[in-house]
Point group: C2
Chain length 324, copies 2
């Protein structure tokens, strides 16, 4: 009898959460949490005690001795100590990032996007902007929009979800499955406008349809530790906040790739989506967004998911950094 | 000109969150959190390092020297050190609670319910059951079901919510507004069965309708510190997990009080509900459930709610205790 090849281990929903919300929690693992925290430098700006992100020592060392930056090994802080406005701080950080890019020390900076991400103070004030590719070097919170487009179907259990496959040649998570529409929010872009733009660019969804039918459904927050699939250095810290939208579509509306980011769209049953999730085929944060969708739509329940309460909490992490 | 009486301060949505999820967070307030934690005794059972709840010193002192209980002032632990099965532990705790009730030292025990609440280990094993009225003395996690029944209406923005007013003579939160259906889950009762039972008892909703149309939508978790409205001692710690359901009703289905718990039902617009919330008329955890409803239904958005990200995270707290 022919021997079957070993089957890859199927991931539980909690496994999928653990992959994306990987940073330890004080309330459940105080020792591990404190061990992590004491390893990093706390990124701050002058005259504020808020920590904006955690920075790996291997990154902080590169900034040691640079003008405008102070590395304090006793307080474990990395402080941007020049600049009193968002413009001034952004200019200094841009110069620093450009210099880091030139020495080609960090592989993540090879993915330079010429796109600025905002960093906020508690209360929502814009503190500065920073090149998207450099955000994980400083460990700052980044923001995005993720939308799940679905067709309800006529009978209970007939719900189907539009699932795109990322282009195989994409720098990050190439060939993996994604949410119907997803993208980062740049400085100055309103959240909903970002969604409308991405829906047109990535999925060719008409602007008026998205404006009329997309429904805000909360946000998913987690604390990711970058692995090899993200490209560049591993271990960089990436706390994220994704604003979540649902879009119910009629069967005759078909998303189509509008740019080179997406290879094709599939219309899959919930079971097909869940099987692909269990095989690890989804980009990690997109699996989180689908778990949130399944929670809100009664697909996962406390009867069929043993880790129900933990999963709901882990999808909505309270981050230790100021959020918008 | 006649002077108007001073208007009561209107509560923001974050104020409503702060009232219910009142226990500090390590990740945002480490000093305050640790100060709180070091005040309490950690409730444990023998041969397990899991903390099941936080106990006020004024409660723990009453158990000092009792057989089956060990109070350790160095480790700040209160340990149930007898009993090796759920039945044995439940029997000891029942005897302890009965003794505490007899001395009439704790006012919360005057609300004795003859109803048992379950306490679980990590992984879901039932460790023991405890009289409902005593749960906040031991600070254990309690579980409930909360359902929002609503009528969608024909136009956008026409959604209305069924809101009951609690009987004025109810021991706890008398006369306050509530979720359409809400109740605690006793030991041995399945979550969905608990919902079906409460929906019939409190709102006279037909069983077959609830079974067919109620949709699981996640859970809301928070860490409440009891205030005067809860009845009995203040400052008792009450971490809670409420399983959330939505029920869309046709306009001709009218919930009616089925027992003495509810005075009457109102069918209110979202604006009417939000105004009553801002006036502080809802039971605190019911305001949380409505905020979750508003988040999931696109009523609150990041455009109209400045504390959007924090509110979503605070509605889904990761508790430091094992949950079911």
């Amino acid at each position: 009898m022919e021997e079957l090849p070993p089957q890859p281990a199927m991931k539980s929903n909690l496994d999928l959460i653990n992959e994306c919300d990987a940073f330890p929690y004080y309330q459940t693992d105080p020792e591990v949490y404190l061990q992590h925290i004491s390893t990093y430098y706390h990124f701050q700006i002058a005259n504020s005690s808020s920590t904006l992100g955690y920075v790996l020592p291997s990154v902080a060392e590169v900034l040691r001795g640079l003008s405008s930056w102070t590395l304090d090994d006793d307080t474990r802080t990395l402080t941007l100590d020049s600049g009193s406005t968002a413009e001034e701080r952004s200019a200094i950080i841009a110069a620093t990032c450009e210099a880091m890019r030139k020495i080609d020390h960090f592989r993540v900076l090879r993915g330079w996007r010429n796109e600025l991400y905002p960093v906020y103070a508690a209360g929502g004030e814009l503190l500065f902007s920073i090149e998207r590719a450099a955000s994980s070097l400083f460990g700052i919170v980044t923001y995005g929009v993720h939308m799940t487009a679905f067709v309800r179907g006529k009978e209970a259990g007939a719900l189907k979800i539009w699932v795109p496959r990322r282009a195989r040649n994409k720098q990050t998570y190439g060939g993996m499955l994604d949410n119907t529409v997803a993208g980062g929010i740049s400085t100055g872009e309103a959240t909903f406008e970002s969604l409308v733009r991405e829906a047109a660019e990535e999925a060719s969804l008409p602007e008026e349809l998205v404006r009329r039918e997309a429904r805000a459904c909360g946000c998913v927050t987690y604390f990711y530790i970058r692995d090899a699939r993200a490209g560049g250095e591993t271990g960089l810290l990436q706390p994220e906040c994704e604003y979540i939208y649902d879009l119910e579509l009629d069967e005759d509306v078909v998303p189509r790739p509008g740019d080179s980011e997406v290879e094709e769209f599939y219309l899959w049953t919930v079971q097909e989506v869940q099987e692909a999730m269990a095989r690890g085929e989804f980009k990690p944060n997109c699996a989180m967004v689908l778990l949130d969708f399944f929670m809100r739509h009664g697909i996962l329940t406390c009867e069929n998911e043993k880790d129900y309460v933990e999963i709901v909490a882990r999808l909505h992490r309270r981050l230790e950094f100021p959020t918008h």
